[in-house]
Symmetry: C2
Subunit: 352 residues, 2 copies
């Protein structure tokens, strides 16, 4: 069975084996692994900022970036062009922020000019999704960042499915809070999430009045210095991620970016040859989203692919049954994508 879903992705054998390692979390063995993880995350995020690690899904870190930085009524701008942009809108509304939404169509990219137009003087922060997993659209973080910084607002970016797959420069692009997770480009199992925090983010944190406890940055920062977390960490996942990050470092980030980009090109070429239509404007190299042929539910395509041992994903939200998604990130090679395309071609022929 091959996992070609936009998270969880295939992970290296060493990362699987590492989960069976036994340790208590208040020991030097664990501290060593945890410190290595944090160090390599700094390298991967391209940041000198603090990085905190949570035992939670990526959504937990998204919530952490909200509850730690704001007070009720703070004005924020959410750039939303898919399910995960929408999630930032839901979280900020749940916490009583004053939420402006730049809602772009699903499958379309966020237009930096529109962000510029919608920014107000008192916009305290802008939220953007790097790779919108629900549609396969990569937003232009660098261009939006420039505009956000000119306005003096905080810049919060969800790169849960972008990090490790496509170029991402936390510090150079002015990202105050970068949010990520373990189970996509990081090639580790799900259950860990991360935030990086700039000095401005910490400054905002000092005045933030929203209530918090489990995700309170202070507790994590305090323990960080000693290579620990305030609450029991998901130990096997940390050991696993340690190995995955070692692998990513050994592979070289630029090499991985090139590889994923080539796999994306190859996938799209084959998709078009099958007479299918691509869905995403400004497609990311993490995944390819494809329109299901008329009168065929993508649910059926996913199901038939699964019977052939290849797990891909259907759509989400209003595109649940009308698009399907093939990820080409994680611990995979060209041959996996070839197998996937051969299988897909046969499935489509049988279904049409």
């Amino acid at each position: 069975m091959i996992l070609l879903t936009p998270g969880p992705t295939e992970i290296p054998g060493e990362s699987i084996e590492a989960m069976s390692r036994k340790a208590h979390h208040r020991t030097s063995e664990f501290r060593k692994a945890f410190t290595s993880v944090v160090e390599n995350l700094h390298w991967l995020f391209k940041t000198k900022n603090d990085i905190l690690v949570f035992a939670s899904s990526g959504t937990g870190a998204m919530e952490a970036s909200v509850v730690n930085l704001f007070s009720p009524g703070d004005r924020v701008l959410i750039c939303s062009n898919g399910k995960f942009g929408k999630r930032f809108a839901e979280i900020t509304k749940s916490y009583g922020l004053n939420v402006d939404i730049y809602a772009e169509g699903w499958g379309k990219a966020i237009n930096p000019e529109m962000v510029n137009e919608m920014l107000k003087k008192d916009t305290k922060a802008v939220f953007l999704t790097h790779n919108e997993t629900s549609t396969g659209v990569a937003n232009d973080v660098k261009a939006v960042g420039r505009i956000v910084k000119e306005n003096g607002s905080l810049f919060i970016v969800d790169t849960i499915s972008g990090l490790g797959v496509m170029e991402f420069e936390t510090d150079r692009w002015g990202v105050d809070v970068a949010v990520s997770g373990s189970q996509k480009g990081l090639m580790a199992p799900p259950g860990l999430s991360f935030v990086s925090l700039s000095e401005d983010a910490w400054e905002s944190h000092r005045h933030a009045r929203l209530p918090k406890y489990y995700f309170s940055f202070d507790s994590y920062k305090e323990k960080l210095e000693t290579g620990q977390t305030p609450f029991t960490p998901a130990i096997p996942l940390i050991f696993s991620l340690e190995k995955s990050l070692d692998f990513i470092k050994k592979s070289g980030l630029e090499n991985l970016f090139k590889k994923y980009s080539a796999l994306a090109d190859m996938t799209r070429e084959r998709i078009l040859k099958m007479g299918l239509e691509l869905f995403a404007e400004r497609p990311s190299s993490a995944l390819t989203s494809v329109r299901s042929p008329q009168n065929i539910s993508s649910r059926d395509i996913v199901e038939h692919m699964k019977r052939k041992g290849i797990v891909i994903a259907g759509g989400q939200g209003q595109f649940k049954e009308t698009i399907f998604r093939i990820a080409h990130m994680g611990y995979i090679e060209r041959k996996h994508i070839e197998m996937c395309m051969d299988a897909l071609s046969s499935v489509i022929q049988n279904l049409v």
Copy 2:
């Protein structure tokens, strides 16, 4: 190396192997495992109530029990006789509740009569720790429950380190919210937490105005019916817990309770024979807390034990260096405790 810490505990081989199982979470394979986990948790909690599963440390589920049930200013009574009772006080204060605290000495048990005295007519809920992991004290959940129910208050119990180790009856003892975690009596890795919710808890949830998102009960309840979670679950930990619960069920709950109780007796007998002093009033069968001999830091005892391949725990809070803790729960046998006691005897002789 043997883990005799009050979480994480030793886990069965099958539970370790299960972590390497590969699956996407929106598939029938995962749903099957998840449904089996929830079913067996019902059996373990002894409840017909809903049980929700989070990707987080136990503290996440503690927070969930607060943010989902209350509104700012609600009066609650926290019974606190150690670090984890204190944690409930910290969480409820962070969220702006009107918090009464019955603070008992560390090492002492919560006195049900005192709970009765401190209850007020408008006390909306009482929080109690079943097994106070920091001191090894087991509180009388049944007796406190009777008093709480007479007052018409909600009863919220942290049984993170009690469940699966000692008698616990969610429904019969009137527990409205039982909070637990994967890495103690449940013999699985850390990273999963649970809550069970009575009808009264759900009713309170409907009127609760505290903000929440990641831990919002509604999202989990909605997905529960389809054997899923709203956010990506920690897949390997679910597969692991599935096997651990199978093992617990096969072992028989009463048999495990008896075994742990016998191991506790054996531990205490040996401790007293060494001339050491026990710390806990009303000791639980999950762990034994021991006073460090005068002028010897428990940190040194823990360190020397570790060199012999046995991981035990020091104290917490103000007892960090003056007590140490030996757990006798999880996937262990009599021989492990014997080895631990032999090693401890030698360590103490060398240090005194």
